[in-house]
Symmetry: C2
Subunit: 291 residues, 2 copies
């Protein structure tokens, strides 16, 4: 076994990883190979098919940014839908908003949920919240048949290879739009500005003209290749900067696990600043973005 647990790019152009203490868990589910390792400095890490999904050290960054940006832009979110998000971290951050009455989470792979309940209790703890309705099912099928409307839909998916591929498709986004309220917002895991601009172009292109406000926002973490990563943002009514009330930040409840950290990454400056895109990304996407 190597001294490091390494992720390699699909095209083998780069690699990165963390020093390894031991392997904790491995299981081939119906959908993917799930592995959990203990690292020396980054806590436990979760991998699907050899790609890092999260590390205990910095998972809060991703989960804060995918949840608080749309929920605080909305201002009064009551019904939230999460597609994916099997580790529970996104649900944890969503449920810190007292306005949320019901959070539905549709995860395709029950084995991920079980592994995270056991090995990442600080991430998955909110899955026991009574406001959460956890459904183990295909999110694409769920939305196709869904007759509800949501204030915020969060697509917390893996990369567009393997089981998550349809979540980056045009038909799926048609169902997303149908299931949003008039003031509704959708955000989605949006890949790397450095390595995934083609996918960002595709996501924006298939939604161009179908939302009033359309764009990407960025954050940095240690667990995804290149560090810089994006979320897709789209809404018919709410603008993520102009309609954002910074006073809302202080109303977000403490974490359910009572960890002594209101936020690891999110704050009101970051909320707006995250929509400032590097020029190589801004210029490539400006044909479709309106934020």
């Amino acid at each position: 076994m190597s001294d490091y647990i390494l992720e390699k790019a699909p095209d083998a152009s780069y690699t990165f990883g963390f020093s390894l203490k031991k392997k904790i868990f491995e299981k081939q589910s119906e959908f993917q190979k799930i592995e959990i390792f203990e690292t020396s400095h980054h806590g436990k890490v979760l991998l699907h098919d050899g790609f890092f999904m999260l590390s205990e050290r910095d998972e809060a960054i991703y989960h804060e940014m995918i949840a608080h940006v749309p929920l605080l832009t909305h201002g009064d979110p009551r019904k939230v839908l999460i597609i994916g998000g099997g580790d529970g971290g996104t649900a944890r951050e969503v449920l810190r908003h007292d306005s949320v009455e019901a959070c539905t989470m549709v995860e395709i792979d029950g084995e991920v949920v079980e592994a995270c309940r056991k090995y990442f209790p600080e991430v998955s703890g909110a899955l026991s919240d009574p406001r959460l309705d956890l459904i183990i099912d295909d999110g694409v099928e769920y939305l196709k048949n869904c007759t509800s409307e949501f204030d915020v839909i969060i697509i917390d998916s893996t990369d567009p290879i393997g089981p998550a591929t349809p979540l980056f498709g045009e038909e799926f986004y048609g169902d997303v739009r149908r299931c949003l309220t008039e003031e509704g917002i959708v955000v989605a895991q949006g890949e790397s500005p450095f390595y995934g601009l083609l996918m960002q172009e595709k996501l924006l292109g298939m939604n161009a003209g179908k939302f009033k406000w359309l764009g990407m926002y960025n954050f940095s973490n240690l667990t995804y290749p290149g560090g810089l990563w994006s979320f897709f943002f789209a809404s018919q009514s709410k603008h993520p900067i102009l309609d954002f009330d910074p006073d809302g930040v202080s109303a977000i409840s403490p974490r359910s696990d009572n960890i002594n950290m209101p936020f690891q990454y999110y704050n009101s400056d970051i909320h707006s600043g995250s929509f400032s895109l590097p020029e190589f990304q801004r210029s490539r996407l400006s044909e479709w973005t309106s934020i």
Copy 2:
């Protein structure tokens, strides 16, 4: 030889790197081991003592952000001093400002300059600009004896181990302050928010109360560990957001190598947005920052 050229953290907690085509250059200078490799997808890369200094793919990001943020904040920089910056990339971006009449660059290691002149012509080309005065000398000694004043001083140093250590010291910053005009600005390579917060605290702490405007700004690249990286910013008069005129961006000249890219990363949104710090960094540094 491995398939990848890898950098390992000093504490071995992480590693990352790029797929390798071949080694191009290696030399042990008086100060450090200089290596250049050709990679498969990131162009040529430069390493000092095993740490990535730049890749052709993304070097413009660092150099745009260390140069244009202070120069456009100043508004009319005529005399600029660069300490370090042996590859020439910072000088290239500084000299895109037509207001700059003289740029002095003090690099301790002439071997770095020679290697970059030969193997990175698009980075080092501006070293032949008649407005540039290249001095191969110790930047600490140079500033100690310097009787000039500069509009902008840029500390483009390696990490605070090895030859660059004194550039992170209190005495050095005393000399920096003495050699700035009243409206002068200093910026410095400021390490990683994720892995180098102690050094950021030290840099800010030793300058606290000695500048009116004091803070850090961030950017993302592929070549430094964790992706997210910081610059130190300090000035007596000019505020990097309030005194910034976005119209100045369009006045920056094209690159001297006529590459078809006005900027890879910098733009007016990024200028201001880069001062929005993640909460884990903002809260740790807020005791000293005033921006």
